[in-house]
């Protein structure tokens, strides 16, 4: 019999001194140190989420061993060479507008094409941005999109964020080449990454954010935050792919704000981690704004993935369109819960949400919980949620063309994901993701 030692309070083993030490090590300005300490106070006053809280009702993270998942990761000897080279490959042919890579919370690569820099675009790590663009960071860091008081892990993040990227595109500047950021980890402990993207009026940008880590035994936690601020008539395409190793517990708060006539195309891919709890929300603040959120997830073995989405229509004549597609195998579990809210005055709103789940094993389970909260009239909202298995007829049809059963199923699962895959604008990233899906599927065949 194995006895697993668990932390009695089931909370990260961290103190106020950890906050002070981190801020001192980064040599931060006093406003930031104070913000961190204020967030820490908030953190200590907030209880750890339990299954009694609605949004955590299905998300039991208490198997985490905080002894290994608490020590703050803020740099190690590992460098850029630790990251799989294919991850760092240019996104389109030979071209990439810029690349930032962090390993164990330390920035190991920070590069921006000169032509983009000349446009006045800022694309740098968060520590550098604090030093060089202090006021701009201060105005945008956890003030507009996500705030430190949104939950236990949000305040923990605000107190102890270890690294991040800061992206700023000035008014009417169009960044032609995509930007790329990679957060990589080689060790256990706690990593707290932050993404801030601010697009001023009329600006345009495409960015790929990736989360990966090396295989490990000891638990690691990632406590992250993403803030996307899309100005009037601006256009942001944001692709975020998570492929942590199986020792990782991922807790994330993410929110986008879209101003008048702005456009947001947000794509979320979740393949890795042992446990994922991601809050991803869109605030549509200005009339004429359009926001699309597409999710793709594939859970196998004993993975747990929970995507908690919101589409908040705060203005009239706005559109939001959400589609999450997930496959599950082995004894994996997933949860998607989504809410469309139409605030008073948000007439002529179009809100769509759909979640499609494909069960590839008997023991997997997908919970799909759509929701609407309509506080206005004259609008169009639809929602759909399905949990299904591969049907016999398509499998037979493909078999009748000479494809073995396993190959037929492979094709059908790839086809299931294809509409979301096609929204990822980088062929090589699509290929990488497709190969990963096939890897997960091949594992089914071995078990069967």
């Amino acid at each position: 019999m194995t006895v697993r030692t668990r932390n009695k309070t089931n909370a990260p083993l961290l103190t106020r001194q950890d906050v002070e030490a981190l801020s001192a090590a980064k040599n931060e300005p006093s406003w930031l140190t104070e913000a961190r300490l204020a967030a820490w106070d908030l953190y200590t006053m907030t209880p750890m989420p339990t299954l009694q809280i609605e949004e955590w009702r299905r998300s039991d993270y208490t198997t985490i061993r905080w002894e290994s998942a608490s020590p703050i990761q803020h740099g190690s000897s590992a460098g850029k060479e630790a990251i799989p080279p294919e991850t760092l490959a240019p996104l389109i042919g030979e071209a990439q507008g810029g690349l930032i890579a962090a390993v164990d919370g330390r920035i190991v690569h920070n590069e921006l094409d000169e032509s983009i820099r000349k446009q006045g675009v800022i694309f740098t790590d968060l520590d550098t941005a604090v030093r060089e663009h202090g006021e701009l960071v201060r105005r945008n860091l956890m003030t507009k999109a996500v705030k430190p008081d949104e939950g236990k892990f949000a305040s923990l993040h605000a107190a102890l964020w270890t690294h991040g990227i800061f992206v700023y595109v000035p008014r009417n500047k169009v960044v032609e080449l995509p930007l790329h950021s990679v957060f990589y980890n080689t060790r256990s402990g706690m990593s707290l990454g932050h993404v801030v993207i601010v697009l001023e009026e009329g600006a345009q940008l495409t960015l790929l954010q990736e989360y990966l880590s090396a295989e490990g035994q000891d638990h690691m936690s990632y406590v992250g935050m993403t803030e996307l601020v899309v100005g009037a008539n601006a256009n942001l395409r944001y692709v975020a792919l998570q492929d942590w190793a199986r020792n990782v517990y991922d807790f994330r708060h993410e929110r986008a704000r879209v101003a008048q006539d702005g456009q947001l195309d947000w794509i979320i891919g979740t393949m890795g981690a042992h446990f994922t709890k991601q809050f991803a929300e869109i605030e549509i603040d200005g009339s004429g704004a359009w926001a699309r959120m597409s999710g793709l997830f594939f859970a196998d073995a004993d993975q747990f993935m929970d995507h908690d989405t919101q589409q908040n229509h705060n203005a009239p004549h706005t559109t939001s369109d959400l589609l999450f597609k997930g496959a599950l195998k082995d004894s994996a579990r997933t949860v998607w819960q989504g809410m469309i809210k139409a605030m008073p005055g948000a007439q002529k709103t179009n809100g769509f949400q759909a979640n499609r789940n494909l069960l590839l094993s008997r023991d997997s389970r997908a919970d799909s919980i759509p929701g609407l909260e309509i506080l206005t009239d004259d609008l169009r909202c639809t929602h759909a949620a399905t949990v299904s298995r591969l049907e016999d007829e398509p499998v037979f049809y493909l078999e009748s063309r000479g494809l073995p059963k396993s190959e037929s199923e492979r094709l059908l699962v790839l086809g299931f994901f294809d509409p979301i895959m096609q929204r990822i604008p980088f062929a090589e990233v699509r290929d990488r993701l497709g190969a990963h899906i096939e890897q997960k599927l091949a594992h089914v065949a071995e078990l069967a």
């Binding site: 398509p394 037979f396 078999e399 009748s400 063309r401 000479g402 494809l403 094709l411 059908l412 086809g415």
Partner: protein
Amino acid sequence: MSVVLEIRNLHVSVDEKEILKGVDLTVREGEVHALMGRNGSGKSTLAYAVMGHPSYEVTEGEILFNGENVLEMEADERSRAGLFLAFQYPTAIPGVTVANFLRAALNARRKAVDPQDKGISIPEFRKLLMAKMNFLKVDPSFAGRYLNEGFSGGEKKRAEILQMAVLDPRIAILDETDSGLDIDALRVVAEGINSLIGPKLGVLVITHYEQFLNYIKPEFVHVMFQGRIVEEGGFDLAEKIQEQGYDWVAEKYAALEGK
């Protein structure tokens, strides 16, 4: 030696109910056969049973393809051996383009011959597919569409014939490939089939309309009634049905009713 499909005393049940009650039929490479009969006489059941659909249980008799026992083969093995079924109602395969699907199907054939095969190269495949599409007068945009999803009736049937052209079977069963087509679509599909018929392809056309047969001109005509083939002949038999319908068949074989 020519390839031959032999069906002997075939009995097939669906959900415990016997549909085919002893069918004998032989189709050789290079021959064109028509299987006619009213709705519900068992024509589609025969097609599915030959292809190995799991819902169709063979309770008696045998199916041989080139002397090999087809009943011991999975559907995919039957296909790779050279059998083809054009479905009456082709299934939509969302998210899988016609091109990707056909490439996977070709690669499955190559892999079955040589497990080390790396698959057909994309340029080579593109060339092959373009040639087949040209030959069948199929719009090139077809290749990038999800297979059968949102296809019109005519497009679905044309996609079936395109698959037949690419997979190059020895014996093909066309299950009501004429149904649901208007006269122009019917001509296009029939021309496609005619262009593929040759010494290396035997065809069994299932239909209950004769119109289609005027295009295809089968040399052998079989009429099915109550799960059995009751009349056989040449093209004149199809013409007789065209003139007189099936009532005489029902009258002549009334004794088989319900047996």
